[in-house]
């Protein structure tokens, strides 16, 4: 082979190597972009799962506190009903005294006693 032919061959090889190098870099860039896209898709899924998880937990928390409120509230009402019943019985037993207190004043006996 003469020198001219060898030079042409060498240039071809260099060009081929450059082309392969460009392809390699291009593929690497595509692979990298793919990795980012995959990660972003994965994050979207994570986001959706987190959203569902938050909704579920929020409902659990709301239900738990509401139940606690209802339970405590019912206990307060139960106690109040018992207390009111006792109060009603006491008032009933003292009704006669209250009636007398009213009568003393509407019959004017308090002012007559004062004069």
């Amino acid at each position: 082979m003469n020198l001219r032919v060898m030079a042409v061959e060498a240039l071809k090889e260099i060009k081929k190597a450059e082309e392969e190098a460009r392809k390699l870099v291009e593929e690497a860039k595509e692979e990298a972009a793919g990795m980012v896209r995959e990660a972003e898709d994965e994050l979207k899924k994570l986001e959706a799962e987190a959203s569902e998880d938050m909704e579920r937990r929020a409902k659990e928390i709301a239900d738990k506190y509401a139940k606690e409120g209802e339970d405590e509230g019912e206990a307060i009402l139960r106690e109040a009903k018992e207390e009111a019943e006792k109060l009603r019985a006491i008032a009933e037993s003292r009704l006669e005294n209250a009636v007398e207190a009213v009568l003393v004043r509407i019959l004017g006996l308090n002012m007559q006693a004062g004069r």
Partner: protein, 222 residues
Amino acid sequence: MMLVGASELVERIKEEAKEEQERILREARAQVEELVKNAKADIEERKKRFIEAESRKAAENKERIIRAKRLDAKKFRWDVEEKAIKRAFEEALKRVQRVKEEGFRGKSYPGILAGLIKDAALSITAGSERSSSSSSSELELEVVLSAEDAQFVTEEMLKEISGEVGCEVRLSKERIKTVGGVIVRRSDGRIEVNNTFEERMKRLYPGLREDIVKVLFRAREE
């Protein structure tokens, strides 16, 4: 066969391409790692803040439920008190009939009426003296009662009251509908004192209510 320099150049191109490929992939991996790390941290932070906010909301709701129940509980007590107070007033008015028959605390019903007439007459004479130059001896008062109560008032009673208050007190022919008690007014109609029991109950309501509450509920707590 290639030229010596060209062969080295090809190798260098390949090496550089390989290095570039590795650099791109390394950077992409790092970028992905950073992206995922930040996004996960962000999600966790948002989750934490969301749960905290929801917990606060839920705790407020719990307190609201309890406050509402406490209010209902107060209503139970209030309801019992109001019913008992109302009943005491109603029973007192019902008891008036028995007072008419049996008297009250050793005092006869005519005596009670006489007291109410005298009290009203004294108020009118005092008011008349303040508002005019006429003396009470010139005043004439009339007593208005129900038909039932009129039978308890005698001429002697009115004469005695007239003497005590210093003006003439006489029985009106007019009759009113009332559970009991009297209306006393000047004959000219300028001053009137309503001492019927219904009216006295209305007039004395705030004090009476306090008395009833004390008798029915406070004694226990004091």
